[in-house]
């Protein structure tokens, strides 16, 4: 989808060390924060969540009612009928009606719990994804620079999902609590002694389950991170296939993949062993409870303290409550994961800052003058975390460009060229100095005016998963003629016309694949179609064939010559690009080392000469 995604696959995002710490995390603490998180989610979706809990309680109550109906039917239908030798018709009709009513209400309960509970979960996720992405859009570029792409993508996706995953079993767990209460009341009504068995078995189930989930969860996280490793190795190996193949390293690559695969296998088996132990135990426990109920029940019936129906009912309650009780364990088991997810999500939501824009617009149209005045800029030092600059990337930069003129910025890697282009479009603001277009400080312009007046073509091309047309217009109101004109200027009309759907051809994963040079040309067209008054190109033709680049530059120059084109600031290596310029600014380590025409600079600056000759004539210089 873009150069940067290609370079930083989501799967390869480093597994956060937090993941592995789950096992040692302070449980008390986690549980406290976990409950706070539950409270937040419940508050935000209170109506639907209440409905889902009602559904769940209804489900629980009806499950218990089922046992009660069975006991009732035993005492009022089955026994009397067998004793009297004739069907207790009225009671039978009652029992059938009760069974059906309970079944239908329970079905409604299931719908409430599963469907509405699911809706709560999915809505929370959707809502927080929106919030996180809104933050991504409003936070300044400086913030983006500090956070790796993979991390931000996983914050919006996996972490949001992990945060709310606990809401999947939550309505059921809350319902189960109601169900447990109902079950215990029903048991008490039946027989006090038998209830004690329940009071022992249910908490035991519940405790074992919490223990089980807590033991399992770090192992599951570990396996998950290994799954990420397997994926990274596969990604890397397939991406480097040409190297692997031409150097004949398939067997070694397979060995490398086998190593991580085996680690994953062993981790999965470790998880499996724990599951193998606990699942049968959790299943057996209620059955053992039932046996105990019968042992005690026989005595209770013999002493006349309980009816046989009571025993049957209590036994039945055991079978129906046993499984749902585990939902409480699921919730508590999920909590640590949710808390970790939430911490990551909230670090984005709590991030502060946004670029503020002015309120004025630029009068007139046509090319503008550019006045860069005493510009100094340094990136915030990540080690201090504050706004203090580690080292200034640009120091005291002064550049003036008359309307319609072209200035080239030349300099070695790290001399600050790209930073200058970022400052011109206010992706970042300078610590000192100002940038003025037609005498207006760009910080006074509205965001829309800024984007309209100044267009930048960045070094790394970013294309959207969208059509060619949308990638050029970006939703702006441009006619097809205008789009084609821009494509023509950048020599992209030819290959676009050849695409099966032309302007409507979809790009990206599901659409057409373009070469690096073609992508750069679309990125250029995107800037040109807006007819900017200042065009900033940051090495924007590096992947274009030299011959095609020539044609693009000619077409651009023709516009400029017609007084129709924008004022241009271009960062360049190739001489052909530099040759477009009326003036060259030679940057060296953050300061302007020299400026003048290309010829003048070649004449008087050895450093400049070396720099511009190196690319085009590397071999000649060598020989």
């Amino acid at each position: 989808m873009s150069d940067r995604t290609a370079a930083e696959p989501i799967e390869a995002a480093a597994p956060d060390p937090d993941e592995r710490d789950l096992g040692t995390a302070d449980h008390q603490h986690v549980t406290g924060r976990g409950f706070a998180l539950l409270g937040r989610g419940i508050r935000e979706q209170r109506f639907l969540f209440s409905l889902s809990v009602i559904g769940s309680v209804l489900y629980g109550a009806m499950t218990v009612a089922d046992a009660w109906v069975l006991g009732w039917a035993t005492d009022h239908v089955i026994r009397p009928s067998f004793e009297r030798g004739e069907i207790a018709k009225g009671a039978l009709a009652g029992a059938i009606a009760l069974f059906l009513a309970v079944a239908i209400l329970r079905a409604l309960g299931i719908i409430g719990r599963r469907l509405i509970g699911g809706v709560v979960f999915y809505r929370l996720i959707a809502d927080y994804r929106r919030r996180v992405t809104r933050k991504y859009i409003s936070l300044p570029m400086a913030w983006h620079h500090r956070h790796p792409t993979g991390q931000l993508l996983s914050n919006a996706n996996a972490d949001v999902e992990a945060t709310w995953s606990v809401f999947m079993p939550l309505p059921m767990a809350v319902g189960v609590i109601a169900m447990l209460v109902a079950a215990i009341v029903a048991m008490l009504a039946a027989d006090v002694v038998l209830t004690i068995v329940g009071l022992i078995v249910f908490p035991a189930l519940f405790a074992i389950n919490v223990f089980y989930q807590r033991w399992l969860s770090p192992k599951v996280s570990y396996a998950q991170s290994l799954r990420g490793d397997v994926s990274s190795v596969a990604h890397e190996s397939f991406d480097g296939a040409l190297v692997v193949k031409s150097l004949g390293r398939e067997a070694d690559e397979t060995e490398r993949f086998t190593r991580v695969t085996h680690e994953l296998r062993d981790a999965n088996i470790a998880v499996g062993r724990i599951r193998s132990m606990f699942d049968p135990l959790l299943e057996a426990l209620p059955n053992l409870g039932i046996l105990l109920v019968i042992v005690l029940g026989v005595g209770r019936v013999a002493s006349g303290a309980a009816d046989p129906g009571d025993v049957v009912q209590v036994a039945y309650l055991f079978t129906v409550v046993a499984f749902p009780v585990r939902a409480i364990g699921w919730v508590l088991g999920e909590l640590p994961r949710s808390v970790v997810g939430w911490e990551r999500v909230s670090s984005v939501l709590e991030a502060e800052g946004s670029m503020s824009y002015g309120s004025s617009t630029l009068p007139g149209n046509g090319p503008v003058s550019l006045d860069v005045d005493g510009l100094t800029f340094g990136f915030a030092d990540p080690s201090t975390g504050s706004g203090t600059a580690a080292k200034d990337v640009l120091r005291g930069i002064d550049v003036e460009v008359e309307p319609g003129k072209v200035v080239a910025v030349v300099g070695a890697t790290g001399s600050g060229k790209s930073t200058l282009t970022s400052l011109l479009t206010r992706l970042v603001d300078p610590q000192h100095g100002a940038i003025r277009v037609d005498g207006h400080d760009i910080r006074e312009l509205t965001h829309a005016e800024l984007a309209k007046a100044i267009a930048v073509v960045p070094q790394a091309t970013f294309l959207f998963d969208d059509s060619v047309r949308e990638n050029v217009t970006l939703g702006g109101d441009f006619s097809d003629e205008e789009v084609w004109a821009a494509l023509r200027t950048v020599q992209a009309d030819g290959f676009v016309a050849k695409l099966p759907a032309g302007l409507d051809a979809e790009l990206g994963e599901r659409g057409t694949t373009l070469s690096g040079g073609q992508r750069q040309r679309l990125s250029l067209a995107r800037a040109l179609v807006r007819r900017p008054r200042l065009l900033v190109m940051d090495d924007a033709t590096s992947a274009v064939d030299p011959e095609v680049e020539q044609r693009i530059l000619k077409a651009l120059a023709a516009h400029t010559a017609d007084d129709d084109g924008p004022t241009v600031l271009v960062v360049a290596y190739r001489k052909a690009t530099i040759a477009l310029a009326d003036e060259v600014v030679f940057l060296d380590d953050g300061v302007i080392a020299d400026r003048g025409s290309h010829a003048e600079l070649v004449e008087r600056s050895a450093d400049y000469r070396d720099l511009v000759n190196a690319y085009d004539h590397a071999r000649e210089v060598e020989s």
Binding site: I78, E236, K245, V312, A412, G508, A576
Partner: protein, 607 residues
Amino acid sequence: MSTTDTVADTEADRLTGIAILRRGLSLSPAIKEGLGLTLVLAILSTIGGSVVPIVIKQTVDSGLGDGDGTQLSDVAGYLLAALGVIVISSLLAYWMRVRLFVASERGLAQLRVDAFRHVHDLSMLTQNSERRGVLVSRVTSDIDQVSQFLQFTGIMMVVSVGQIIVATGIMAYFSWQLTIVVWVCFLPLGISLKYFAERLSRAYDIVRRTVGEMLAVIAEPVVGASVVRAYAIERRTQQRVDDGIARNLDANVRAQKLVAVTFASAGVAGGLANAAVIAFGVAIGLSGQLSMGTVIAFAFLVGLFVGPVQMATQVLTDAQNAIASWRRVIELLDTPADVVDPGEAGTTLPGGTLGARFEHVTFAYPDGPDVLKDVNVEIAPRQRVAVVGETGSGKTTFAKLLTRLMDPTAGVVRLGETDISRVSFNDLRQHVLMVPQEGFLFDATLRDNLLYGKKDATEAELVDVFGRLGLTDWYASLPRGLDSQVGQRGESLSAGERQLVALVRSALADPEFIVLDEATSAVDPQTELRATRALDRLLDGRSSVTIAHRLSTAENADRVLVFDAGRLVEDGTHAELVELGGVYARLHASWVAQASLSSHQPAADPV
């Protein structure tokens, strides 16, 4: 890809489903081994849950129901037996599960490795970079799906079916009439299950698709952060993201509705069965054919029946998805490796520096037009050849055929006198090496990356090769030397430095014939200078074919081959071809237009 697979007609699906299962198991013998015993254990372990109703029945029948003096000693035997059965079946369940986890994880790990190895044999990998993500998911998420299926879904299915059978058996033992009654109550659910499963499978397909689309739009404000700001398209971007999220939400809710309805119907069927059992049980019981205990036990048995049926309902969709994943992995393994390594049977190339020869070579991608048409050319040993042409002219295809990354559709490529398709890979790669455009590095140390060129290179060899390529000063400037971490795809190094590493790596491999795809992206001049010098030394004394993007490369070559629209149109030295006034002369003119500007007039117009 998944879309067509899972939406496929279910009837056909089920037939192939079994075939897939069989083929899948045969590909992973570790799973198949001892599977019979595991399945037997799975069925046996379900018995534990079934003894409870029996105990209750026996207890009630032994006199509890009459209310007159049943003593514990009367039922102690049953209870002890039941206790024994529960404990034993739990142990069996533990044993079964461990066996299952170990066997399936072993089998699938092997399948993963096999699939990974196979992918490297497919030329698809080097031809179509867009397919790489898909190939990664074959060895990751698809196999995870199968694992999930084997360990949970599949076993649940087996267990559920087992439980249904066991429950039916016990019910039939007590009363065949009531058994029929119960089955009749579940019949409508059974019939509609297939319909539900299909709908669910389609619903989840849509969910998966919307997830993919959502991930793509969520990436926009992150990866395209600067474009979003520079073009002030915040609102539009947010709209796209919101739409993507909303579509995903809709799809999830829709799927959830189906799940809830399916579950609810199983519950209703259960209630129906309960009512019917009481009504018919009493009626049949009064006719003297059933005891009271049997009727009560039956009500419990219905519960045993509803559980597995509900489980089977849930499991059915997962099973379909898992089978689809398994099929995709199997299909990948069944894709024949198109460029086959003759291996041991292959010949070896003679020693000494070899030339190359193309004899009537034509190449086309499957179902595509010819990319290269009837190319005939001979390259002498130690000749330095530059290949030029516009994008899509066939020059890259030429290079890939020469290194046997692909095989020609027609014609023969020879090294010396030997047809390269007869040479074992192992030998071929010691002679010919393709150096790709971008110096792709692996996320490891610099040393590890260099060892890709020669596994057993010594430290001295490594240092020496820097010297031979004139890169000693660069090597000395690296703060951590060979132990420097290069980062993901080598991103800790600059593009130019990555190229340097690629050159050193190639020099270590020491092939006699180098095929080089020249880098196009601009790098900083100092590194550029180093790279040019290193390259020059690397090519010295070897045969080489360079896909040239620069004037200087073509100018300095012994010979220039010019491709246009899949044909070799011009062949000669730089001077000859400029003289000729054809395609090359035209390309050259535009190069000259750039180069000649070096010290003359600083025109606003480059023409």
